[in-house]
Amino acid sequence: MLGYTIRRCLSVIPVMFVVSIIVFLLVHLTPGNPAHIILGEDASPEAVAQLEEQLGLNDPWYIQFFDWLKQVVTGDLGTSVFSAQPVTELIFSNFGPTFSLMILSLLFILVISIPLAILIVSLRKTILDPLFTSASLLGVSVPEFWLAILLVLGLGVSIPIFPVAGYMPIAEGFGSWLYHLLLPAFVLAILEIGIIARMLRDSMLDSVNQDYTKTARAKGVRERDVLMKHVFANALIPTTTVLGATVAGLLGGTVIIETLFTIPGIGQLLIDSIHRRDYPVIQGVVLFIAAIYVLVNLIVDLLYAFLDPRIRYDE
């Protein structure tokens, strides 16, 4: 297991290298540059050229790339062209809100979708099952931004229970942090709750009438234990795969939710940097997001072995 983990960690390096080349090329081949933006619409071509020179934008792209790569290898992602703040500092200050949002959404997903799927499977012969299928389809189909607007108008403006926007760091009080995040985290979770609950229900229903569950029932095992120890445990592997993708998907979903709820997260940082062509920040953030994707996939792979002892990576 340790050997596998090390190998997986090392395999991240070429992935990140390829990602960094693609990002660098995409960013630098897109028209527009920070010198134009900084100097504004009144700028003379001479002033733009002078600032481009100062920012090192006149060098060929491959020289700029290797200069940047040399910095990255030493753990320095550069500094923002606009705020002159180190990119790592910007990423970490903006990742706090995004991470909070993701964790709370994930909590919503797990706490709602898993018990719901188990409940539906145990009551599979009642009207709840088709009702659940319809409701979960609705959850999957409802656009996040529409639901967010509706909830804000209903529970933020008309019945002012929640704030309509904003974010409070956890350092300024857990209650305040939670109060500001509940609505956005719920909106972010709703789609994934539908997906995970449906996935888990389908996987469990596949196992419900398998020979091994019949055998368990024949041995006199209680239905509740059959469901939890046999059916649910077996359904966890495919669900974990989807959950891994979900965590990565949440990172994408936060971009919209952060805008709608004015949360200063990593998605906002990335969008602002793209508009301003703040190259070091765009490259740093994309590299960071790619690293999270790779890390989540690694954790999912390692979880397989934990969930199913038959899976051995080192053999």
């Binding site: 897109t30 705020s83 209903g154």
Partner: protein, 526 residues
């Protein structure tokens, strides 16, 4: 089970009903009582400035925050007249080439240092290098010297009566900063540690993408006179702090205003005007926001031919264009002058009769007589502003109706700026120009570059030179001549004067807007 379903549907229904309900009671402003000290003001702004260096940048977002932090020797009052701010007084020599400016006593920077003439000299030296307005002024300036702690002497190469207006311009402004900061920053934008001015509020923090915080400057030395409006006169900071928060979505801004999350919100789309006016305890704030223009590239065919530009001028129905773009006529004003009517000292309505020259038949005739050979005319614009897209689309229809072949290309702002820089990429651009305060600051005509569509006019430059030496009476004649030149040489097509829409809570008292919101002399009742 049925009960559960009913509850769920009921809850959703209630949310939808509350969400869609529109409160129809009209807004009412509270009376202005005694000023209240203290409180934090939350301002939602749609776009974050690229820098808070108000000397370096002409950006609106920089200006609206910058004028709380910094001050110049002179500033414009409500009537757009230059009046002293940090300056106590000034004298002009008989040959009008030497300006001797005395600073007020007791002025302090936010870092506690006294303001001296040496700081003013270092600041103005930097202004002549980094500011678009300062660069114009620098061609007339021979030297800037501090003769003692309180006295600054500016010697000119030639008579230039616009000097005070340039020093007072609230765009890439001649702000006074500590000399060590000015020298350290040089031609680079100021950094967060260098945002040190003399204004009633001081810079506290900037969380990128989140908020910019200013706090009350306890040692602020105000002028003693009444509030002259604009940016000068008596200023008092009643508020403890101002939080400029970045909020991208206008609907979020309005929701925040309704629920007391924000006290003031900037740049609301005009189609939300009815929502603003029908919300209790909320008031609409409108301010002059310059004008929208269509600028042809005059360096190449087809618009290097005046006849083609005349055909363009006759083809555009600006009234239809303004109505379709801005809708509510409270927010646009069809007026052909170079300046807007609220700029009383600069406005002349002479020689603008040819502004509304829409005549389709005349346009067809002029186009036939011109050198236009049917080649496609490319209009570019930034799709970050929905108004530009509408103007471009309507212009396309109107131009095609008289025989032009038109192509539209839209870009996001950064790409647009790059495309705009090269004449090969476009034949016409649609863009908006925020107010300017002297003819030589009019970016769309004053220099032969992309902003003016490479407008080369000896006549215009001669008028600008005359402006530099003219007294007030002569300036009115020059303004009339400038208007005349606009409609004879047709360097650009002015569409319409426009206003911006902001909104504020009625808890905000003493508030006055001038070319954007200013929060000194303003307090919160709760």
């Amino acid at each position: 089970m049925k009960k559960l379903a009913l509850i769920l549907f009921g809850l959703l229904g209630a949310i939808a009903l509350f969400g869609c309900s529109n409160n129809s009671s009209s807004s009412s402003a509270g009376g202005s009582g005694e000023p209240v000290e203290g409180g934090d003001l939350n301002v939602a702004m749609g776009s974050e400035p690229d820098t808070l260096d108000w000397m370096y940048s002409g950006e609106s977002a920089t200006r609206k925050i910058g004028w709380h932090i910094y001050e110049g020797l002179f500033a414009l009052d409500k009537e757009y007249q230059a009046r002293p701010l940090l300056a106590e007084d000034y004298t002009v020599s008989d040959d009008k080439k030497t300006y001797t400016i005395t600073l007020r006593d007791g002025l302090k920077f936010h870092n506690g240092q006294d303001v001296t003439a040496n700081d003013a000299k270092a600041s103005l030296d930097r202004w002549t290098k980094v500011s678009s307005v300062g660069k114009i002024a620098s061609s007339h300036i021979n030297s800037i010297e501090a003769t003692d702690d309180k006295t600054l002497v500016i010697t000119l190469k030639d008579v230039y009566t616009s000097l005070l207006t340039d020093l007072a311009a609230p765009k890439a402004s001649a702000i006074i900063i500590p000399s060590d900061v000015a020298e350290a920053a040089g031609e680079q934008p100021l950094t967060n540690e260098q945002f040190i001015g003399t204004g009633p509020f001081q810079f506290e923090s900037w969380k990128s993408g989140n908020e910019i915080v200013l706090s009350k400057f306890a040692d602020y030395k105000s002028r003693d006179e009444e509030d002259w409006g604009g940016l000068t006169g008596k200023k008092t900071a009643y508020l403890d702090s101002i939080h400029f928060k970045v909020v991208k979505d206008p609907q979020v801004m309005l929701n925040g205003l309704k629920t007391d999350l924000y006290d003031y919100v900037q740049s609301i789309p005009l189609d939300l005007y009815e929502v603003v006016t029908s919300t209790p305890n909320v008031e609409a704030v409108t301010s002059s926001n310059g004008y929208s223009v269509i600028t042809p590239d005059k360096s190449e065919a087809p618009f290097d031919d005046l006849k083609v530009r005349q055909a363009l001028h006759a083809a555009l129905d600006k009234e239809a264009m303004a109505k379709a773009t801005y809708g509510n006529d409270d927010f646009y004003e069809l007026d052909g002058a170079l300046f807007t009517p609220d700029q009383t000292a600069l406005y002349s309505d002479e020689n603008i009769d040819n502004f509304a020259a829409f005549d389709e038949e005349e346009a067809k005739k002029l186009l036939e007589e011109s050198s236009y050979d049917g080649q496609p005319v490319k209009i570019i614009f930034s799709n970050d502003n929905a108004d530009y897209a509408k103007i471009a689309e309507i212009a396309e229809q109107q131009l095609e109706a008289v025989g032009f072949t038109v192509e539209l290309e839209s870009y996001e702002w950064a790409t647009y700026l790059e495309k705009w820089g090269d004449a090969k990429n476009w034949d016409m651009v649609v863009v908006g120009w925020s107010p300017f305060f002297s003819p030589n600051q009019a970016g769309m005509v004053s220099r032969e570059n992309n902003s003016s569509g490479w407008y080369h006019s000896d006549r215009w430059q001669e008028l600008l030179a005359q402006w530099g030496t003219a007294d007030e009476g002569e300036q009115q004649q020059i303004l009339a001549e400038l208007n005349k030149t606009l409609y004879e040489e047709l360097p650009f097509e002015k569409v319409t004067n426009i206003s911006a829409l902001d909104a504020r809570t009625t808890d905000l008292q003493g508030f006055d807007e001038w070319y954007g919101p200013r929060f000194w002399n303003t307090w919160k009742t709760k």
